[in-house]
Amino acid sequence: MSTFEEVESRVHVPLTTPRLPRVAPILVGVMAVALGGLVVVLGASIFVGVLAAAVTFLVALPGWSYGVEGRRAAVDRLMTALIWSAFGVAVVPLVSLLWQVVSSGIERIDGTFLTYSAFRTQIDQPTGIYHAIIGTLMITLGAALISVPIGVLAAIYLVEYGNKNRLSRSITFLVDVMTGIPSIVAGLFAFALFTLMFGPAYVSGFGGSVALSLLMIPIVVRATEEMLMLVPSDLREASYALGTPKWRTIMKVVIPTALGGILTGITLAISRIIGETAPLLLIAGAATKTNFNLFDGGMTTLPVYIYTERLDGSDEAKLNAWGAALVLIVIVMLLNLVARLVGRLFAPSKG
């Protein structure tokens, strides 16, 4: 039982332990699929068949391994199988969703759709989503300009200055609570704030930015905090040892080291809020013409556009909604690419 015994026994075994053949997982996999197929043929539903195949695989392979290779290897086999099946199970719906957006959206994409707004003077005129693209970009940019400095600086405070004191612990806690603010409550809050300041029925894109930044800040803080904590303290100490002041150490050593992760966090946060509908319905109003002024007048964003087009219900409107969803994803994809590029450019050279 004791480790001593284990070590003792290992001394006597040959240097190589028995291993399953390399094709073992494939073999068991084929068998499991065959069994699942058989179950389906015998009259069960596809759902049961897939379930049967999965269970068979997850029992048979570790079981075989347990017999031949021992407990530790069997656990390893089981976990490997579980991790790969998690990968498979999750990627299927995600990819199917993405595929649906792309295939339904691509039909609608053309020059008119991208460069026209929804402003019409005749009912049969073509419309587009230019106004919504501009609205999305401006409101999201506004939210990012508010959230990124606050979020990153707050994370710096938590990791570099807070030293787990009472204040920093409560901020961490409050940030977690903030992630739970329902988006619609953020919208209600911004609505109340701005109507208090600027009179009733004030609508502006900036109000939307404020509501969205409430949702964005906690994500930025959390992601940045995690990345800053992962910067090895050796680096900081090396910098201090050279006499660099703390703030320059943070700016020149800590942030660049963590930049890739921080940028991922920020893009993730942007991705999270760029698709937000509920708060904007309350505070950002709506427009059919393109509005370039973030501080005055309603602005339509892509998600709000998608929402209203869906409520419309006609086939044409549905196509518009899918098209707008695709454009939104492409925008986020470009943002992602830019973030990665910037991260790579500013990352400290390795080597």
Binding site: G128, H131, K289, G313
Partner: protein, 366 residues
Amino acid sequence: MNTPIRRALVPSVALLAIFATACGADNEKGGSDNDASTGLSGTLAGAGATSQEKAQEAWYTAVQGQNDGNLEITYNAIGSTDGRSQFVEGAVSFAGTDSYLKDDEGELTAAKERCGGEDVIEVPAYVSSIAIAFNVPGVDTLNLTADTIAQIFDGKITNWNDDAIAADNPDAELPDLKITPVHRSDDSGTTKNFTDYLGKVAPDSWGYEAEDAFPVSGGEGAEGTSGVVELIGSTEGAIGYADASQTGDLTAVSVKVGDEFVAPSPEGAANTVAVSEPVADRAETDMAVDVNRNVEDPTAYPVILLSYIIACQHYDDAEEEANVKGYLSYIVSDEGQSEAADYAGSAPLSADTAARAQEIVAKIGA
């Protein structure tokens, strides 16, 4: 070696921003010459009932066209309640609402105050039948009394081969199929009008108040008219209520009016409005009516939604006044009503109602 890149980045981002802000949408550049221009310009903001949204789209598009695109009209479909309160607060020039102004909470008085103490203009603008659509394979027409409908939505009748249904449909081959009643899960004027109909016509089977929220727990809830329509279409044995203009290929129940069964139609809806009683003690400019659900005349279809537009007689700003007048005149005009009928599937106002509404709207600015 980072610095040069960073230096290059800032101006290029700025340039990109300028580039983006410099171009408007292609369809907004310049208006065409139009002899029939009515010469309105600026902006006009309205808000209110979601039911009117599609009709409003047709109206403002047409009016924007008449004014060469110099006038921009927005209608923010935020719901009747918010629309009314934004109007009272003076945030919008006009509002659309599914239920008329009442003084239960002082709203009518407040609206009067907003209009400088003058009577508020309240005209019917959008009338639409609420279809009770169903999806039963092999059944193309279905006659139901209000009692039966009430029991179906209350969960009392649960199968399509129930005797109560068969009694009114001797010719139909009713299958042995579970009934899935579909209702709106969001609060809406459609639900309020539908439950009002059931409560007034079948009080014995429907013991609930007319409310925006569907009162029965059970059955399937779906969001929005489109949600209800799609759910009925995809579920065998489903029955639900939705704005008749959007039920598409689904077939609608004929409800019992007097001694006959009547299918929803624009004319039937308009006739119901025509025979409904005006609300007592209203100002001359206020056309609020209580819809007569118990109508006996088989040319009328009583399950309807009636939506109003609220505005003032005078506005401080002359341009605002002209814009409201121009827009509302178009809405209640025969042309505006038939435009909405084409585009949004609503029922044009009957001749008498329209004439009176036009008279009232003419008082704006006069």
